[in-house]
Assembly symmetry: C2
Homo-oligomer: 246 residues x 2
């Protein structure tokens, strides 16, 4: 398996060391090489290094320390603004302000992000994705001055690792892969899929500290609660509307 894939771990602590421009440019160029729909490249990447802008981004990411701690913060955005401007400038009747184009752009921006991360790891850098990007979308839009047609998709913090980060376990292959068509899960399938994760002793502390009976309750009732997910869903759709995508 490719070393960068096999050895990937989320790195949350970085050395106080800048990333040379030549390295960063090669990493970003690797992102642009990713496949994308029709070669329209409906995405943009905002590179944030200044303390000022990071301070504006940090609350949107619930002040996770990686935002201020990493030398570089990359915000990958779905972007139909650039392509539409090109079409308009060429007298072409463009229609990309809609959900189909937005979702296409979400996938394409994600593929570019994964290339960036693997290339960064090949250069000895550590990365961490911030899933919080789609929670407080409007704060990020404001912080990065994203115009209509541009929506943040995911954020990657980037820097030289300080210390060894732990590797996360994953579900067994047969829990995620379906043969020919989708085979829905029996109760026994579910038990098997999550058995390893549930037996990992390092998860017990999360159950104890949150006063829950099991790991599923920690996920569903604390970390990713229904109330939060529904609130962020409303906010997300409102941001899509605000950016002209619905």
């Amino acid at each position: 398996m490719l070393n960068e894939i096999k050895n990937h771990r989320s790195v949350r602590k970085y050395k106080d060391e800048q990333i040379p421009d030549v390295v960063l440019n090669e990493i970003l160029t690797a992102g642009l090489r990713a496949s994308n729909t029709g070669n329209m490249q409906l995405y943009s990447i905002v590179v944030t290094r200044s303390s000022d802008i990071k301070q504006k981004l940090a609350p949107a990411h619930f002040n996770q320390p990686m935002v201020m701690g990493a030398p570089v913060v990359l915000t990958f955005c779905a972007d139909v603004n650039r392509f539409t401007k090109w079409c308009q400038q060429r007298n072409a009747d463009a229609g990309f302000y809609n959900m189909e184009s937005l979702i296409t752009a979400f996938v394409d921006a994600s593929l570019a992000a994964e290339n960036v991360c693997l290339e960064a790891e090949a250069h000895g850098l550590g990365i961490c994705y911030l899933g919080t990007t789609t929670y407080n979308v409007r704060q990020i839009i404001d912080a990065l001055q994203l115009p209509k047609g541009v929506v943040p998709v995911t954020t990657v913090t980037l820097g030289y690792p300080d210390g060894e980060a732990p590797m996360s376990s994953r579900l067994p292959l047969n829990a995620v892969v379906h043969d020919e068509t989708y085979h829905d899960y029996s109760p026994a399938d579910i038990d098997n899929a999550y058995a390893e994760m549930e037996s990992d002793p390092s998860n017990q502390k999360f159950i104890d500290v949150n006063n829950k009976q099991n790991l599923a309750q920690v996920f569903a009732e604390v970390r990713y609660s229904k109330a939060n997910n529904e609130y962020f869903s409303k906010e997300l759709l409102e941001a899509f509307r605000q950016q002209g995508m619905m």
Copy 2:
């Protein structure tokens, strides 16, 4: 730059040669190693090899020849069904049937897909993404028997390359990357961004054959027309609703 990233090209013609299970399993395992939100792994991968199911998938992809021509078709799906079943079985109050979780899952499925593609290329395989996946979502849902909570995100065809595929050009880095915050494009910026693509003589035939004045018109008025994008947007939102995600 990582060889797989540097040399990536979309491969649309495949040899009549099966992919050994041990190779396919390593490729899929590489997918699972990708970063994902909270390690919830809200995605599934459907592996289609049978002619029967491929025949059902093909029309959803406008009968692009890669579907029938590739030994393996991978459909990456956002999946909150498995995780929700686990939560329910553990008496945890789960709320993942919403847009926030769906969008999170779209990103995570895409990151897994890109790992799969790079690992496949490291094994000498060729890949092609099918952006058509989000066009005829409901046909794919039917063909693969996807239950509520599961939505197709992207499709990858996989096989040993038959012949040399061309490499696509990309926008220059400074057309996609923004320093600190988003800098909106002036008319001159737009001209510069698309100059190389517009001067590529291989694009001239698309302009001629479609009776258009320029490449932007081919994109916006023929390949990805406003009417189609708006139709597919409605279909996509209807599919999200049908799968219980809105």
